[in-house]
Protein backbone atom coordinates (compact mmCIF):
# COMPACT_ATOMS: atom_id res chain seq x y z
CA UNK A 1 0.00 0.00 0.00
CA UNK A 2 1.56 3.18 -1.21
CA UNK A 3 2.28 5.80 1.44
CA UNK A 4 1.05 8.88 -0.38
CA UNK A 5 1.28 12.36 1.11
CA UNK A 6 -0.60 14.57 -1.29
CA UNK A 7 0.05 17.76 0.64
CA UNK A 8 3.81 17.32 0.64
CA UNK A 9 3.74 15.80 -2.84
CA UNK A 10 5.54 12.72 -1.69
CA UNK A 11 5.01 9.05 -2.33
CA UNK A 12 6.77 6.22 -0.52
CA UNK A 13 6.98 2.75 -2.03
CA UNK A 14 8.00 -0.32 -0.11
CA UNK A 15 9.76 -3.16 -1.89
CA UNK A 16 10.60 -6.27 0.10
CA UNK A 17 13.29 -8.85 -0.62
CA UNK A 18 11.94 -12.14 0.69
CA UNK A 19 13.32 -15.66 0.63
CA UNK A 20 14.86 -18.50 2.61
CA UNK A 21 17.79 -18.08 4.96
CA UNK A 22 21.16 -17.48 3.30
CA UNK A 23 19.69 -17.11 -0.19
CA UNK A 24 21.41 -13.74 -0.62
CA UNK A 25 18.82 -11.07 0.17
CA UNK A 26 21.25 -8.83 2.00
CA UNK A 27 23.90 -9.48 -0.65
CA UNK A 28 21.43 -8.23 -3.24
CA UNK A 29 20.80 -5.04 -1.35
CA UNK A 30 24.52 -4.53 -0.70
CA UNK A 31 25.14 -4.84 -4.42
CA UNK A 32 22.34 -2.40 -5.17
CA UNK A 33 24.04 -0.01 -2.80
CA UNK A 34 27.32 -0.50 -4.68
CA UNK A 35 25.85 -0.35 -8.16
CA UNK A 36 23.54 2.60 -7.72
CA UNK A 37 25.74 5.35 -6.41
CA UNK A 38 23.77 8.41 -7.35
CA UNK A 39 22.93 11.39 -5.29
CA UNK A 40 19.32 10.37 -4.94
CA UNK A 41 20.14 7.39 -2.86
CA UNK A 42 20.11 7.18 0.90
CA UNK A 43 22.55 5.27 3.00
CA UNK A 44 22.11 1.58 3.56
CA UNK A 45 20.91 0.89 7.04
CA UNK A 46 21.79 -2.54 8.30
CA UNK A 47 20.05 -3.19 11.55
CA UNK A 48 21.56 -5.26 14.28
CA UNK A 49 22.75 -8.62 13.12
CA UNK A 50 23.58 -11.77 15.00
CA UNK A 51 26.54 -13.66 13.55
CA UNK A 52 26.24 -11.67 10.32
CA UNK A 53 22.66 -12.84 9.84
CA UNK A 54 19.88 -10.33 9.41
CA UNK A 55 17.84 -10.22 12.57
CA UNK A 56 15.44 -7.37 11.89
CA UNK A 57 15.76 -5.98 8.37
CA UNK A 58 18.00 -3.98 6.06
CA UNK A 59 16.85 -0.78 4.46
CA UNK A 60 18.06 1.04 1.37
CA UNK A 61 16.15 4.15 0.24
CA UNK A 62 16.11 5.75 -3.25
CA UNK A 63 14.56 8.96 -4.51
CA UNK A 64 13.33 10.29 -7.76
CA UNK A 65 11.34 13.28 -8.79
CA UNK A 66 8.52 13.21 -11.28
CA UNK A 67 8.24 16.11 -13.75
CA UNK A 68 5.20 17.27 -11.77
CA UNK A 69 7.33 17.73 -8.67
CA UNK A 70 6.07 14.60 -6.99
CA UNK A 71 8.86 13.07 -4.95
CA UNK A 72 8.91 9.30 -4.99
CA UNK A 73 10.87 7.47 -2.38
CA UNK A 74 11.53 3.79 -2.93
CA UNK A 75 12.50 1.90 0.20
CA UNK A 76 13.99 -1.53 -0.29
CA UNK A 77 13.79 -3.87 2.68
CA UNK A 78 15.08 -7.33 3.35
CA UNK A 79 13.51 -9.74 5.78
CA UNK A 80 15.30 -12.27 7.97
CA UNK A 81 15.11 -15.63 6.23
CA UNK A 82 15.51 -17.91 9.22
CA UNK A 83 12.37 -19.85 10.02
CA UNK A 84 12.22 -18.66 13.62
CA UNK A 85 11.88 -15.00 12.54
CA UNK A 86 8.49 -15.49 10.99
CA UNK A 87 6.83 -12.76 13.04
CA UNK A 88 9.49 -10.27 11.92
CA UNK A 89 8.93 -11.26 8.31
CA UNK A 90 5.23 -10.71 8.72
CA UNK A 91 5.83 -7.32 10.31
CA UNK A 92 8.19 -6.15 7.55
CA UNK A 93 5.95 -7.52 4.81
CA UNK A 94 3.06 -5.33 5.87
CA UNK A 95 1.97 -2.81 3.26
CA UNK A 96 4.58 -3.98 0.75
CA UNK A 97 4.14 -2.60 -2.77
CA UNK A 98 6.25 -5.28 -4.39
CA UNK A 99 8.19 -8.40 -3.47
CA UNK A 100 11.34 -9.95 -4.89
CA UNK A 101 11.66 -13.56 -3.86
CA UNK A 102 15.31 -14.54 -3.70
CA UNK A 103 15.67 -18.29 -4.15
CA UNK A 104 18.81 -20.32 -3.63
CA UNK A 105 19.64 -22.18 -6.85
CA UNK A 106 21.55 -24.95 -5.12
CA UNK A 107 19.95 -28.37 -5.59
CA UNK A 108 20.09 -29.01 -1.86
CA UNK A 109 17.90 -25.94 -1.25
CA UNK A 110 15.00 -26.83 -3.55
CA UNK A 111 12.62 -27.91 -0.82
CA UNK A 112 13.62 -24.98 1.37
CA UNK A 113 12.79 -22.60 -1.49
CA UNK A 114 9.33 -24.09 -1.84
CA UNK A 115 8.74 -23.93 1.89
CA UNK A 116 9.82 -20.30 2.00
CA UNK A 117 7.59 -19.47 -0.95
CA UNK A 118 4.66 -21.12 0.81
CA UNK A 119 5.54 -19.06 3.86
CA UNK A 120 5.43 -15.94 1.67
CA UNK A 121 1.99 -16.90 0.34
CA UNK A 122 0.73 -17.51 3.85
CA UNK A 123 2.14 -14.30 5.30
CA UNK A 124 0.90 -12.19 2.40
CA UNK A 125 -2.59 -13.42 3.04
CA UNK A 126 -2.20 -12.78 6.77
CA UNK A 127 -1.14 -9.16 6.22
CA UNK A 128 -3.96 -8.76 3.72
CA UNK A 129 -2.04 -8.70 0.43
CA UNK A 130 -3.23 -10.56 -2.65
CA UNK A 131 -0.40 -12.57 -4.20
CA UNK A 132 -2.27 -12.57 -7.49
CA UNK A 133 -2.16 -8.79 -7.72
CA UNK A 134 1.03 -7.90 -5.89
CA UNK A 135 4.07 -7.15 -8.10
CA UNK A 136 6.30 -10.18 -7.61
CA UNK A 137 9.52 -11.40 -9.21
CA UNK A 138 11.65 -14.41 -8.40
CA UNK A 139 15.42 -14.40 -8.54
CA UNK A 140 17.36 -17.64 -8.72
CA UNK A 141 20.55 -16.60 -7.04
CA UNK A 142 23.93 -18.28 -6.75
CA UNK A 143 24.09 -19.26 -10.43
CA UNK A 144 27.87 -19.20 -10.07
CA UNK A 145 27.84 -22.32 -7.89
CA UNK A 146 28.31 -25.88 -9.17
CA UNK A 147 25.43 -27.98 -7.82
CA UNK A 148 22.57 -25.86 -9.00
CA UNK A 149 19.18 -26.55 -10.46
CA UNK A 150 19.31 -26.30 -14.31
CA UNK A 151 17.57 -23.29 -15.83
CA UNK A 152 15.48 -25.64 -17.96
CA UNK A 153 14.02 -27.24 -14.86
CA UNK A 154 13.35 -23.89 -13.22
CA UNK A 155 11.51 -22.81 -16.35
CA UNK A 156 9.37 -25.96 -16.26
CA UNK A 157 8.57 -25.43 -12.61
CA UNK A 158 7.88 -21.72 -12.57
CA UNK A 159 6.75 -20.66 -16.02
CA UNK A 160 3.24 -21.90 -15.34
CA UNK A 161 2.92 -19.53 -12.40
CA UNK A 162 3.29 -16.51 -14.67
CA UNK A 163 5.69 -14.94 -12.17
CA UNK A 164 8.78 -13.42 -13.90
CA UNK A 165 11.98 -15.17 -12.83
CA UNK A 166 15.59 -14.12 -13.30
CA UNK A 167 18.97 -15.71 -12.87
CA UNK A 168 21.56 -13.98 -10.76
CA UNK A 169 24.79 -14.20 -8.87
CA UNK A 170 24.44 -11.46 -6.33
CA UNK A 171 27.90 -12.09 -4.96
CA UNK A 172 29.38 -11.31 -8.39
CA UNK A 173 26.93 -8.52 -8.98
CA UNK A 174 25.10 -9.85 -12.01
CA UNK A 175 21.33 -10.21 -12.22
CA UNK A 176 20.91 -7.86 -9.27
CA UNK A 177 19.99 -4.74 -11.21
CA UNK A 178 17.87 -6.78 -13.61
CA UNK A 179 15.85 -8.18 -10.71
CA UNK A 180 15.41 -4.77 -9.14
CA UNK A 181 14.53 -3.26 -12.51
CA UNK A 182 11.91 -5.95 -13.23
CA UNK A 183 10.35 -5.46 -9.81
CA UNK A 184 10.37 -1.66 -10.23
CA UNK A 185 8.72 -2.04 -13.62
CA UNK A 186 5.92 -4.22 -12.27
CA UNK A 187 5.47 -1.94 -9.26
CA UNK A 188 5.27 1.09 -11.54
CA UNK A 189 2.52 -0.57 -13.62
CA UNK A 190 0.68 -1.50 -10.47
CA UNK A 191 0.64 1.97 -8.92
CA UNK A 192 0.21 3.80 -12.23
CA UNK A 193 -3.21 2.22 -12.48
CA UNK A 194 -4.24 3.91 -9.27
CA UNK A 195 -2.16 7.07 -9.09
CA UNK A 196 -1.87 7.85 -12.82
CA UNK A 197 1.83 8.62 -12.63
CA UNK A 198 2.11 9.15 -16.36
CA UNK A 199 -1.11 11.05 -16.92
CA UNK A 200 -0.98 13.31 -13.89
CA UNK A 201 2.69 13.51 -13.06
CA UNK A 202 4.29 13.12 -16.46
CA UNK A 203 6.28 10.14 -15.25
CA UNK A 204 6.39 7.33 -17.80
CA UNK A 205 7.56 3.88 -16.94
CA UNK A 206 10.77 4.37 -18.90
CA UNK A 207 11.46 7.61 -17.07
CA UNK A 208 10.74 5.97 -13.74
CA UNK A 209 13.26 3.21 -14.43
CA UNK A 210 15.77 5.60 -15.87
CA UNK A 211 15.64 7.80 -12.80
CA UNK A 212 15.76 4.90 -10.41
CA UNK A 213 18.57 2.91 -12.03
CA UNK A 214 21.98 4.13 -13.16
CA UNK A 215 22.32 4.91 -16.83
CA UNK A 216 24.86 3.07 -18.94
CA UNK A 217 26.99 6.16 -19.10
CA UNK A 218 27.19 6.63 -15.37
Amino acid sequence: MVEYDEQNRKMVLKLVYYGPALSGKTTNILQLHELITRKERGELMIMDTVGDRTMYFDLLPFFLMAPSGLKIKVKVYTVPGQVQHDSTRKAVLQRADGVAFIADSQLSQETINFESFENLEKNLSIVGLDIEKLPLVIQFNKRDLADICPEEEIRNDWQVTGIPFLMASALNGWGVLETFSKLAELTYDHIDRRYHLEAEHGLSREMFLLKLLPRESE
Partner: protein, 424 residues
Protein backbone atom coordinates in the same frame (compact mmCIF):
# COMPACT_ATOMS: atom_id res chain seq x y z
CA UNK B 1 -5.37 -8.66 16.19
CA UNK B 2 -4.63 -5.19 14.92
CA UNK B 3 -1.29 -5.27 13.16
CA UNK B 4 -1.94 -2.30 10.96
CA UNK B 5 -1.55 0.29 13.71
CA UNK B 6 2.11 0.97 13.09
CA UNK B 7 3.96 0.14 9.96
CA UNK B 8 7.62 -0.65 10.28
CA UNK B 9 9.85 1.89 8.53
CA UNK B 10 7.10 4.44 8.21
CA UNK B 11 8.31 7.92 7.31
CA UNK B 12 9.59 9.85 10.30
CA UNK B 13 10.15 13.56 10.83
CA UNK B 14 13.00 15.02 12.83
CA UNK B 15 10.69 15.82 15.73
CA UNK B 16 9.57 12.17 15.79
CA UNK B 17 13.12 10.92 16.20
CA UNK B 18 15.05 13.41 18.28
CA UNK B 19 14.04 14.72 21.68
CA UNK B 20 14.80 17.81 23.62
CA UNK B 21 17.18 15.84 25.85
CA UNK B 22 19.18 14.76 22.81
CA UNK B 23 19.48 18.18 21.24
CA UNK B 24 19.49 20.90 23.86
CA UNK B 25 22.74 19.89 25.65
CA UNK B 26 24.50 19.94 22.27
CA UNK B 27 23.09 23.37 21.46
CA UNK B 28 24.13 24.64 24.90
CA UNK B 29 27.64 23.35 24.29
CA UNK B 30 27.75 25.27 21.03
CA UNK B 31 26.80 28.47 22.87
CA UNK B 32 29.44 27.79 25.49
CA UNK B 33 31.83 27.26 22.61
CA UNK B 34 31.16 30.77 21.52
CA UNK B 35 28.17 30.69 19.20
CA UNK B 36 25.59 33.44 19.70
CA UNK B 37 22.63 31.30 18.70
CA UNK B 38 22.19 27.64 17.90
CA UNK B 39 18.94 26.52 16.27
CA UNK B 40 17.54 23.33 14.82
CA UNK B 41 14.96 23.79 12.08
CA UNK B 42 12.58 21.18 10.71
CA UNK B 43 12.12 20.29 7.04
CA UNK B 44 9.94 23.32 6.42
CA UNK B 45 12.31 25.73 8.19
CA UNK B 46 10.31 26.04 11.39
CA UNK B 47 12.28 26.28 14.63
CA UNK B 48 12.30 23.10 16.67
CA UNK B 49 14.91 23.79 19.29
CA UNK B 50 16.81 26.88 20.15
CA UNK B 51 19.58 28.07 22.48
CA UNK B 52 21.37 31.38 22.84
CA UNK B 53 20.39 35.00 22.15
CA UNK B 54 18.19 35.76 19.25
CA UNK B 55 20.17 37.37 16.52
CA UNK B 56 18.69 39.23 13.64
CA UNK B 57 18.39 37.80 10.19
CA UNK B 58 21.09 40.15 9.01
CA UNK B 59 23.70 38.32 11.04
CA UNK B 60 25.50 35.84 8.82
CA UNK B 61 24.62 32.36 9.79
CA UNK B 62 26.04 28.97 9.05
CA UNK B 63 23.52 26.39 7.79
CA UNK B 64 24.13 22.66 7.66
CA UNK B 65 21.56 20.02 6.67
CA UNK B 66 20.44 17.09 8.80
CA UNK B 67 19.87 14.13 6.54
CA UNK B 68 17.92 10.96 6.98
CA UNK B 69 17.66 8.15 4.44
CA UNK B 70 19.28 10.49 1.94
CA UNK B 71 16.72 13.24 2.51
CA UNK B 72 17.17 16.59 4.23
CA UNK B 73 14.82 16.50 7.15
CA UNK B 74 16.09 19.56 8.97
CA UNK B 75 18.83 22.13 9.36
CA UNK B 76 21.34 23.36 11.87
CA UNK B 77 21.68 27.12 12.05
CA UNK B 78 24.56 28.67 13.96
CA UNK B 79 25.33 32.39 14.24
CA UNK B 80 28.24 34.13 15.80
CA UNK B 81 28.13 37.35 17.71
CA UNK B 82 28.79 40.18 15.37
CA UNK B 83 32.18 41.20 16.63
CA UNK B 84 33.70 37.86 17.39
CA UNK B 85 35.66 35.88 14.96
CA UNK B 86 34.95 32.25 15.61
CA UNK B 87 35.20 29.10 13.50
CA UNK B 88 31.44 28.67 13.71
CA UNK B 89 31.57 26.34 10.67
CA UNK B 90 33.67 23.88 12.65
CA UNK B 91 31.24 24.04 15.54
CA UNK B 92 28.38 23.45 13.12
CA UNK B 93 30.15 20.50 11.57
CA UNK B 94 30.73 18.93 14.97
CA UNK B 95 27.09 19.56 15.85
CA UNK B 96 25.94 18.05 12.57
CA UNK B 97 28.05 14.96 12.99
CA UNK B 98 26.85 14.43 16.56
CA UNK B 99 23.23 14.92 15.61
CA UNK B 100 23.52 12.56 12.62
CA UNK B 101 25.00 9.91 14.84
CA UNK B 102 22.32 10.33 17.49
CA UNK B 103 19.68 10.36 14.77
CA UNK B 104 20.82 7.10 13.26
CA UNK B 105 21.06 5.45 16.65
CA UNK B 106 17.63 6.71 17.63
CA UNK B 107 16.13 5.58 14.33
CA UNK B 108 17.59 2.13 14.66
CA UNK B 109 16.25 1.96 18.15
CA UNK B 110 12.83 3.04 16.96
CA UNK B 111 12.87 0.40 14.22
CA UNK B 112 14.13 -2.23 16.62
CA UNK B 113 11.42 -1.32 19.09
CA UNK B 114 8.81 -1.42 16.37
CA UNK B 115 9.86 -4.85 15.21
CA UNK B 116 10.33 -6.07 18.73
CA UNK B 117 6.95 -4.97 20.03
CA UNK B 118 5.27 -6.18 16.89
CA UNK B 119 6.97 -9.56 17.07
CA UNK B 120 6.16 -9.85 20.76
CA UNK B 121 2.53 -9.00 20.09
CA UNK B 122 2.29 -11.39 17.17
CA UNK B 123 3.99 -14.15 19.13
CA UNK B 124 1.73 -13.45 22.07
CA UNK B 125 -1.36 -13.65 19.89
CA UNK B 126 -0.07 -16.86 18.38
CA UNK B 127 0.68 -18.28 21.80
CA UNK B 128 -2.77 -17.34 23.01
CA UNK B 129 -4.30 -19.06 20.02
CA UNK B 130 -2.10 -22.09 20.52
CA UNK B 131 -3.02 -22.14 24.17
CA UNK B 132 -6.69 -21.93 23.32
CA UNK B 133 -6.39 -24.88 20.94
CA UNK B 134 -4.37 -26.86 23.45
CA UNK B 135 -6.93 -26.18 26.15
CA UNK B 136 -9.66 -27.38 23.83
CA UNK B 137 -7.73 -30.47 22.93
CA UNK B 138 -6.88 -31.16 26.55
CA UNK B 139 -10.55 -30.87 27.47
CA UNK B 140 -11.42 -33.26 24.69
CA UNK B 141 -8.95 -35.83 25.95
CA UNK B 142 -10.04 -35.34 29.55
CA UNK B 143 -13.66 -35.89 28.57
CA UNK B 144 -12.62 -38.84 26.52
CA UNK B 145 -10.69 -40.47 29.33
CA UNK B 146 -13.51 -39.78 31.77
CA UNK B 147 -16.13 -41.37 29.59
CA UNK B 148 -13.97 -43.99 28.00
CA UNK B 149 -14.79 -46.66 30.54
CA UNK B 150 -18.48 -45.91 30.32
CA UNK B 151 -18.35 -45.99 26.54
CA UNK B 152 -16.49 -49.28 26.52
CA UNK B 153 -19.12 -50.70 28.86
CA UNK B 154 -21.91 -49.46 26.65
CA UNK B 155 -20.30 -50.88 23.54
CA UNK B 156 -19.66 -54.18 25.27
CA UNK B 157 -23.28 -54.37 26.30
CA UNK B 158 -24.40 -53.56 22.78
CA UNK B 159 -22.12 -56.23 21.41
CA UNK B 160 -23.33 -58.77 23.95
CA UNK B 161 -26.92 -57.92 23.16
CA UNK B 162 -26.32 -58.20 19.43
CA UNK B 163 -24.59 -61.49 19.97
CA UNK B 164 -27.45 -62.90 22.05
CA UNK B 165 -29.99 -61.64 19.55
CA UNK B 166 -28.12 -63.48 16.84
CA UNK B 167 -28.11 -66.61 18.95
CA UNK B 168 -31.82 -66.20 19.59
CA UNK B 169 -32.54 -65.80 15.90
CA UNK B 170 -30.44 -68.79 15.08
CA UNK B 171 -32.15 -70.77 17.79
CA UNK B 172 -35.51 -69.88 16.34
CA UNK B 173 -34.33 -70.91 12.94
CA UNK B 174 -32.93 -74.15 14.29
CA UNK B 175 -36.17 -74.92 16.11
CA UNK B 176 -38.07 -74.12 12.94
CA UNK B 177 -35.88 -76.46 10.94
CA UNK B 178 -36.22 -79.17 13.52
CA UNK B 179 -39.98 -78.74 13.56
CA UNK B 180 -40.12 -78.82 9.82
CA UNK B 181 -37.94 -81.91 9.74
CA UNK B 182 -40.16 -83.72 12.22
CA UNK B 183 -43.24 -82.50 10.39
CA UNK B 184 -41.90 -83.96 7.18
CA UNK B 185 -41.25 -87.31 8.91
CA UNK B 186 -44.72 -87.33 10.48
CA UNK B 187 -46.36 -86.55 7.17
CA UNK B 188 -45.73 -89.95 5.59
CA UNK B 189 -47.11 -92.21 8.35
CA UNK B 190 -49.89 -89.70 8.81
CA UNK B 191 -50.76 -90.10 5.15
CA UNK B 192 -51.38 -93.81 5.41
CA UNK B 193 -53.02 -93.46 8.83
CA UNK B 194 -55.62 -91.15 7.27
CA UNK B 195 -55.94 -93.29 4.20
CA UNK B 196 -56.23 -96.51 6.23
CA UNK B 197 -58.66 -94.93 8.67
CA UNK B 198 -60.86 -93.89 5.76
CA UNK B 199 -60.73 -97.43 4.39
CA UNK B 200 -61.29 -98.78 7.88
CA UNK B 201 -64.39 -96.65 8.17
CA UNK B 202 -65.90 -98.13 5.00
CA UNK B 203 -64.91 -101.63 6.14
CA UNK B 204 -66.50 -101.00 9.52
CA UNK B 205 -69.70 -99.83 7.85
CA UNK B 206 -69.73 -103.05 5.82
CA UNK B 207 -69.00 -105.10 8.91
CA UNK B 208 -71.86 -103.47 10.76
CA UNK B 209 -74.21 -104.18 7.85
CA UNK B 210 -73.07 -107.78 7.91
CA UNK B 211 -73.66 -108.09 11.66
CA UNK B 212 -77.08 -106.48 11.30
CA UNK B 213 -77.88 -108.90 8.48
CA UNK B 214 -76.71 -111.89 10.48
CA UNK B 215 -78.86 -110.92 13.43
CA UNK B 216 -82.01 -110.27 11.40
CA UNK B 217 -84.88 -112.87 11.07
CA UNK B 218 -83.99 -113.98 7.62
CA UNK B 219 -80.22 -113.85 8.15
CA UNK B 220 -80.06 -115.82 11.32
CA UNK B 221 -80.06 -119.61 11.12
CA UNK B 222 -83.21 -121.10 12.67
CA UNK B 223 -82.99 -121.83 16.37
CA UNK B 224 -79.86 -119.65 16.75
CA UNK B 225 -81.69 -116.36 17.11
CA UNK B 226 -81.81 -116.50 20.86
CA UNK B 227 -78.17 -117.30 21.42
CA UNK B 228 -77.10 -114.64 18.87
CA UNK B 229 -79.19 -112.08 20.63
CA UNK B 230 -77.77 -113.09 23.97
CA UNK B 231 -74.19 -112.90 22.60
CA UNK B 232 -75.08 -109.53 20.99
CA UNK B 233 -76.10 -108.16 24.34
CA UNK B 234 -73.12 -109.71 26.02
CA UNK B 235 -70.83 -107.87 23.64
CA UNK B 236 -72.91 -104.68 24.07
CA UNK B 237 -72.97 -104.67 20.27
CA UNK B 238 -75.69 -102.02 20.14
CA UNK B 239 -73.29 -99.61 21.70
CA UNK B 240 -70.41 -100.76 19.48
CA UNK B 241 -72.60 -100.24 16.40
CA UNK B 242 -73.44 -96.77 17.55
CA UNK B 243 -69.90 -95.82 18.54
CA UNK B 244 -67.74 -97.43 15.87
CA UNK B 245 -68.38 -95.04 12.98
CA UNK B 246 -68.16 -91.82 15.02
CA UNK B 247 -65.01 -93.21 16.58
CA UNK B 248 -63.35 -93.74 13.25
CA UNK B 249 -64.76 -90.49 11.90
CA UNK B 250 -63.33 -88.61 14.86
CA UNK B 251 -59.98 -90.34 14.40
CA UNK B 252 -59.98 -89.34 10.74
CA UNK B 253 -60.86 -85.75 11.72
CA UNK B 254 -58.10 -85.81 14.34
CA UNK B 255 -55.59 -87.14 11.85
CA UNK B 256 -56.60 -84.50 9.33
CA UNK B 257 -56.09 -81.87 11.99
CA UNK B 258 -52.65 -83.27 12.71
CA UNK B 259 -51.95 -83.13 9.01
CA UNK B 260 -53.01 -79.49 8.93
CA UNK B 261 -50.85 -78.60 11.91
CA UNK B 262 -47.87 -80.36 10.40
CA UNK B 263 -48.34 -78.55 7.16
CA UNK B 264 -48.57 -75.22 9.00
CA UNK B 265 -45.46 -75.99 10.97
CA UNK B 266 -43.65 -76.71 7.75
CA UNK B 267 -44.92 -73.53 6.27
CA UNK B 268 -44.02 -71.60 9.36
CA UNK B 269 -40.45 -72.68 9.32
CA UNK B 270 -40.29 -72.16 5.59
CA UNK B 271 -37.77 -74.84 5.15
CA UNK B 272 -38.02 -74.71 1.42
CA UNK B 273 -37.75 -70.93 1.13
CA UNK B 274 -34.82 -69.74 3.24
CA UNK B 275 -34.36 -66.71 1.06
CA UNK B 276 -36.72 -63.86 0.33
CA UNK B 277 -39.80 -63.99 -1.84
CA UNK B 278 -42.94 -61.97 -2.47
CA UNK B 279 -45.17 -62.81 0.46
CA UNK B 280 -48.83 -62.27 1.23
CA UNK B 281 -48.58 -61.09 4.81
CA UNK B 282 -52.27 -61.77 5.53
CA UNK B 283 -51.64 -65.45 4.89
CA UNK B 284 -48.55 -65.41 7.10
CA UNK B 285 -50.56 -63.89 9.97
CA UNK B 286 -53.18 -66.62 9.54
CA UNK B 287 -50.50 -69.28 9.51
CA UNK B 288 -49.03 -67.87 12.70
CA UNK B 289 -52.42 -67.88 14.36
CA UNK B 290 -52.85 -71.56 13.51
CA UNK B 291 -49.44 -72.45 14.92
CA UNK B 292 -50.30 -70.54 18.04
CA UNK B 293 -53.77 -72.12 18.20
CA UNK B 294 -53.03 -74.41 21.15
CA UNK B 295 -51.89 -71.41 23.19
CA UNK B 296 -54.90 -69.23 22.42
CA UNK B 297 -57.48 -69.40 25.24
CA UNK B 298 -60.79 -71.00 24.21
CA UNK B 299 -63.04 -68.05 24.74
CA UNK B 300 -60.81 -65.70 22.73
CA UNK B 301 -62.48 -63.57 20.11
CA UNK B 302 -60.33 -62.84 17.11
CA UNK B 303 -61.40 -60.06 14.77
CA UNK B 304 -59.68 -60.11 11.42
CA UNK B 305 -59.78 -57.12 9.15
CA UNK B 306 -57.47 -58.09 6.34
CA UNK B 307 -57.07 -55.36 3.79
CA UNK B 308 -55.99 -55.73 0.22
CA UNK B 309 -52.28 -55.23 0.83
CA UNK B 310 -49.52 -55.62 -1.74
CA UNK B 311 -47.18 -58.57 -1.49
CA UNK B 312 -44.06 -57.83 0.47
CA UNK B 313 -40.64 -59.12 -0.48
CA UNK B 314 -39.10 -60.62 2.63
CA UNK B 315 -38.11 -63.82 4.34
CA UNK B 316 -41.54 -65.11 5.36
CA UNK B 317 -40.10 -67.22 8.18
CA UNK B 318 -38.73 -64.12 9.82
CA UNK B 319 -42.02 -62.27 9.57
CA UNK B 320 -43.84 -65.21 11.09
CA UNK B 321 -41.52 -64.74 14.05
CA UNK B 322 -42.53 -61.09 14.25
CA UNK B 323 -46.24 -61.97 14.31
CA UNK B 324 -45.66 -64.86 16.68
CA UNK B 325 -43.79 -62.69 19.18
CA UNK B 326 -46.44 -59.98 19.13
CA UNK B 327 -49.41 -62.35 19.31
CA UNK B 328 -47.85 -64.47 22.01
CA UNK B 329 -47.49 -61.39 24.17
CA UNK B 330 -51.20 -60.71 23.80
CA UNK B 331 -52.15 -64.28 24.47
CA UNK B 332 -50.04 -64.39 27.61
CA UNK B 333 -51.33 -61.05 28.80
CA UNK B 334 -54.89 -62.23 29.34
CA UNK B 335 -56.42 -65.64 29.66
CA UNK B 336 -60.11 -64.76 30.02
CA UNK B 337 -62.23 -63.01 27.37
CA UNK B 338 -59.22 -62.10 25.30
CA UNK B 339 -59.96 -60.08 22.22
CA UNK B 340 -57.49 -59.89 19.39
CA UNK B 341 -58.00 -57.36 16.67
CA UNK B 342 -55.83 -57.76 13.62
CA UNK B 343 -56.03 -55.19 10.86
CA UNK B 344 -53.97 -54.82 7.71
CA UNK B 345 -54.21 -51.91 5.35
CA UNK B 346 -52.44 -50.40 2.35
CA UNK B 347 -51.90 -46.72 3.05
CA UNK B 348 -49.88 -43.88 1.63
CA UNK B 349 -47.27 -44.44 4.35
CA UNK B 350 -46.89 -48.05 3.29
CA UNK B 351 -48.41 -51.29 4.46
CA UNK B 352 -49.92 -51.05 7.95
CA UNK B 353 -50.16 -54.12 10.18
CA UNK B 354 -51.97 -53.41 13.42
CA UNK B 355 -52.32 -55.87 16.28
CA UNK B 356 -54.49 -54.80 19.22
CA UNK B 357 -55.57 -56.67 22.32
CA UNK B 358 -57.67 -55.88 25.35
CA UNK B 359 -54.94 -56.89 27.77
CA UNK B 360 -53.75 -54.82 30.70
CA UNK B 361 -51.62 -52.61 28.47
CA UNK B 362 -48.02 -51.62 29.02
CA UNK B 363 -47.22 -49.14 31.81
CA UNK B 364 -46.01 -45.86 30.39
CA UNK B 365 -42.69 -46.02 32.23
CA UNK B 366 -41.65 -49.24 30.57
CA UNK B 367 -43.20 -48.80 27.13
CA UNK B 368 -40.02 -47.14 25.92
CA UNK B 369 -37.98 -50.14 26.97
CA UNK B 370 -39.92 -53.08 25.63
CA UNK B 371 -37.82 -53.36 22.48
CA UNK B 372 -34.61 -53.38 24.51
CA UNK B 373 -32.88 -56.70 24.59
CA UNK B 374 -33.46 -58.74 27.79
CA UNK B 375 -36.18 -56.46 29.00
CA UNK B 376 -38.95 -58.65 30.29
CA UNK B 377 -41.75 -58.40 32.82
CA UNK B 378 -42.27 -62.13 32.86
CA UNK B 379 -40.98 -64.34 35.62
CA UNK B 380 -37.52 -65.77 35.27
CA UNK B 381 -37.63 -68.70 32.89
CA UNK B 382 -40.82 -67.60 31.18
CA UNK B 383 -39.46 -65.01 28.87
CA UNK B 384 -36.13 -64.34 27.26
CA UNK B 385 -36.74 -60.64 26.91
CA UNK B 386 -35.76 -61.03 23.31
CA UNK B 387 -39.07 -61.65 21.53
CA UNK B 388 -39.89 -58.04 20.80
CA UNK B 389 -36.25 -57.18 20.22
CA UNK B 390 -36.10 -59.81 17.51
CA UNK B 391 -39.37 -58.47 16.07
CA UNK B 392 -37.94 -54.95 16.13
CA UNK B 393 -34.75 -56.02 14.38
CA UNK B 394 -36.58 -57.93 11.68
CA UNK B 395 -38.98 -55.07 10.91
CA UNK B 396 -36.16 -52.54 10.93
CA UNK B 397 -34.08 -54.81 8.72
CA UNK B 398 -36.91 -54.84 6.19
CA UNK B 399 -36.95 -51.04 6.15
CA UNK B 400 -40.05 -50.72 8.28
CA UNK B 401 -40.94 -49.36 11.71
CA UNK B 402 -42.62 -50.93 14.69
CA UNK B 403 -44.27 -48.95 17.48
CA UNK B 404 -46.23 -49.76 20.55
CA UNK B 405 -49.00 -47.68 22.03
CA UNK B 406 -51.47 -48.11 24.85
CA UNK B 407 -54.70 -46.26 24.07
CA UNK B 408 -56.76 -44.60 26.81
CA UNK B 409 -59.40 -47.26 26.24
CA UNK B 410 -56.99 -49.93 27.40
CA UNK B 411 -55.09 -52.75 25.80
CA UNK B 412 -51.99 -52.68 23.73
CA UNK B 413 -51.53 -51.89 20.07
CA UNK B 414 -48.51 -52.79 17.98
CA UNK B 415 -48.31 -50.91 14.70
CA UNK B 416 -45.97 -52.04 11.98
CA UNK B 417 -45.40 -49.90 8.91
CA UNK B 418 -43.61 -51.52 5.99
CA UNK B 419 -42.44 -49.68 2.90
CA UNK B 420 -44.81 -50.41 0.05
CA UNK B 421 -42.37 -49.95 -2.84
CA UNK B 422 -40.27 -53.03 -2.51
CA UNK B 423 -39.55 -54.72 -5.77
CA UNK B 424 -38.09 -58.23 -5.83
Amino acid sequence: MDITTEIIGEEKRLIDILSEEDVLPLLSTAIEGGAAEATILDESGAVLWHRGTRTGDDVPACFLPIRLEGEDIGQIRLTREGNKSLPVETLAAILQHSLQTILLCRLKRIFTNQVHSKVVNLSYEELLEKNRLLTLSEKKYRDLSATLEKKVDERTQELNAAHLRLIQQEKMTAIGQLAAGIAHEINNPLGYIISNLTTLKSYAEKLLLLAEKYRSEDGCPPGRKESVDSFWSELKFDYVCGDLIPLVTQSIAGAIRVKKIVSDLKGFAHMEEGSTSAVNLNEEIERTLRVLAHDIPHNTRIVREYGDIPTFVCNPGLFCQVFLNILRNSVQARTEDLQLHIRTEASSRGTLLIFSDNGPGIPREISARIFEPFFTTKDIGNGTGLGLTVAYDIVKGAGGTIEVSCPETGGTTFSIVLPSQRTP
